[in-house]
Symmetry: C2
Subunit: 391 residues, 2 copies
């Protein structure tokens, strides 16, 4: 059913005629179309004519290697990423990505990016991240036997411990020092970068390929293509990856339609909302106060613009109050998500519109990772009675 | 493939000829064989002759309803429990139960026990638990639309917030007040208890049925029966459930052998080790100092004794030092487990013995739930250099 990777080359999102060999991964964006103000990412192109469509007759499950023909070579071992459940919640479906190896969607990306590091023979992996991405990269690097350096910021204390648990070298540095230091680690130590290095976001060219597997799973879990997908959006690698997966299903003739993609961004920032409103390929914003640190990205990228534009979707801005309400309601149905992880549901609620088919909200991460978790102390009732237990 | 429950009745573990109707669940143990000093649990018996063995030709995945013929009726909705990956780790396999809806194995049990509450028409669910069990019961009760009362103790602050997130009434009470209060909630409010109420542990009679699904999954994931299973053991519901699942596979003729079951208990207590050494049906111990609060149970039960005895296994005591080493090594391979959750691997390492076939260590829960997580503060390096990033 699965088989070797059919990845052929890298291709620019700035100009699809600009093609590059598959290796080395262009971790500083497209060298032909990027400018000093705007970086275009590249993506991976495949030999689609060779894809056996029985690939899409399997049942989803852990380990994205089941989709290997449509992924770059997976040289790093699995931690059992993917195969996450789809849970009914009122009139929408929740794709619960907190069920991944490090309890966020980032594991799908890091299986692919750490594989690239292994394939390149890199002596280590480096990542700048305030939380989930850093922990996930550290976990996959550890699993692959590669040292990792994680440049982190002021993540919540429990998340700091989470990132550190996997044995990486973790250093908290000021935000403005993270990217120069990352470049230095790449240039001087030869470590493979699995996070962004460019003026507008490009990230790792292979990263969104891992997220495509969410689209494949959704198609199999629903037995159809959803009408709309609402995704928590920071740099929009997730949004773009899911979009590309559905676009491939249509390209391969497995399906005949694609969903509208909704970029659910924090109202404290929202670079893709800004870019779309202004008709720009990508934008940069100031970030105001928000607890949704997982999606509070000042630097947007071209991928999110492409996914929204080509799918007929929209960017939706959600406030922390919207997020808290969505987070609370998900928990009250048994799904405790990180505040940022509830952005898909919050976005769906803010956009008052009917859809002609299933609506999926991606929920990205466990509630354990939030700001303030573990900060409150609860008293022990020394002499409790039944009255103390009533609402 | 799946179909209605084939559960017929409850049967005593104290005397297999003592049978009871399937409902109501005997949540205070076997009324015929229990004494003032020793309570025997009951288990669920099925119409095994009616089981369609193609049930065991499916692929594992989320939602244990795929095993419904061999489970009590599942009247509570799923959160997508089960279908967890099996990860190679050196010469053993790790069954990563931190990949469940509330990031521990307890979700398999609570899908079943909260279903019993729904089937009984109970007005709510009550549970005494210091952590994972309480959170999981709260999540499944919330999902089923039932109120829940959780009597908790001095769980770590992040775990307190985790338990509270699902909207249950959570009250911290001294350990010696938990069980009297639980009984009062059951007797006066009619809430359905999903934790233990007896002098030696019996718990919910349906609980271990949920854990059987781990055995079914392991058989399908390995393509064979493991030679040995090492399980973190507190009350031994997990150990017994996995054992029963394998025993059923043999009974049904799906397999011709069963694994040896190893009860991995904290050296600070270890009631099943004590009972087995003394030839008792169950034992109670004092608990010494340990951070492995998830398995530090003073009250043992008969189930653990049966699982070890009938499978030809052993009880293995592990120190906190053993656990920390196992936890660290799992994390260094990308699997961050709770200290108690690493007891399976710690136990396997302590028992120096070769096995003629695959060895599985169950890992039960995410590292986020440990004592002390989030308690440490890490300084931000204001002027970092490359030297700060080297090991």
């Amino acid at each position: 059913m699965n088989g070797p990777s059919l990845a052929l080359r890298q291709r620019s999102l700035g100009d699809p005629s600009a093609e590059f060999p598959l290796f080395p991964p262009l971790t500083r964006g497209c060298p032909k179309t990027s400018t000093a103000e705007l970086a275009y990412p590249v993506e991976v192109d495949y030999d689609y004519a060779k894809v056996d469509r029985t690939l899409f007759e399997q049942q989803p499950g852990p380990d994205i290697a089941r989709w290997s023909p449509l992924l770059p070579p997976l040289d790093a071992p699995t931690l059992g990423e993917g195969g996450t459940p789809l849970i009914e919640f009122g009139d929408v479906y929740i794709k619960d990505e907190s069920r991944n190896p490090t309890w966020s969607h980032k594991d799908r990306l890091n299986r692919v990016t750490v594989s690239a590091a292994v394939a390149c023979g890199a002596p280590g992996v480096v990542v700048a991240s305030s939380g989930n991405h850093g922990a996930s990269a550290a976990a996959y690097a550890a699993r692959a036997g590669l040292p990792a350096i994680v440049l982190t910021g002021d993540a919540p204390p429990a998340v700091q411990e989470f990132v550190r648990s996997y044995g990486a070298k973790v250093v908290s540095v000021p935000v403005d020092k993270r990217w120069p230091l990352l470049r230095q680690v790449v240039d001087e130590l030869g470590y493979h970068p699995v996070s962004n290095q460019t003026v507008t976001h490009t990230g790792h060219p292979f990263g969104p390929e891992g997220y495509k597997t969410i689209a494949y799973e959704l198609f199999l879990q629903l037995g159809t293509v959803p009408a709309a997908v609402f995704s928590p959006t920071g740099y929009a690698e997730l949004l773009y990856g899911v979009w590309k997966g559905f676009a491939e299903l249509r390209l391969l003739g497995v399906t005949d339609r694609t969903p509208r993609m909704f970029s659910c961004e924090t109202a404290a920032g929202g670079p893709h909302a800004k870019a779309l409103a202004a008709g720009l390929p990508a934008a940069i914003v100031e970030i105001g106060p928000t607890d949704a640190y997982g999606v509070a990205c000042p630097v947007g990228g071209h991928r999110g613009v492409v996914a929204v534009r080509d799918s007929g979707g929209e960017a939706v801005l959600v406030t922390d109050e919207d997020l808290r309400k969505a987070q609370r309601d998900l928990a009250r149905a048994g799904l405790w998500q990180e505040l940022s992880g509830a952005a898909g549901l919050a976005g769906r609620r803010r956009l008052r519109r009917d859809f002609d088919g299933p609506v999926v909200c991606i929920a990205t991460s466990s509630g354990f990772k939030d700001v303030g978790v573990g900060g409150e102390r609860y008293d022990v009732l020394t002499d409790p009675t039944l009255d103390d237990l009533l609402p």
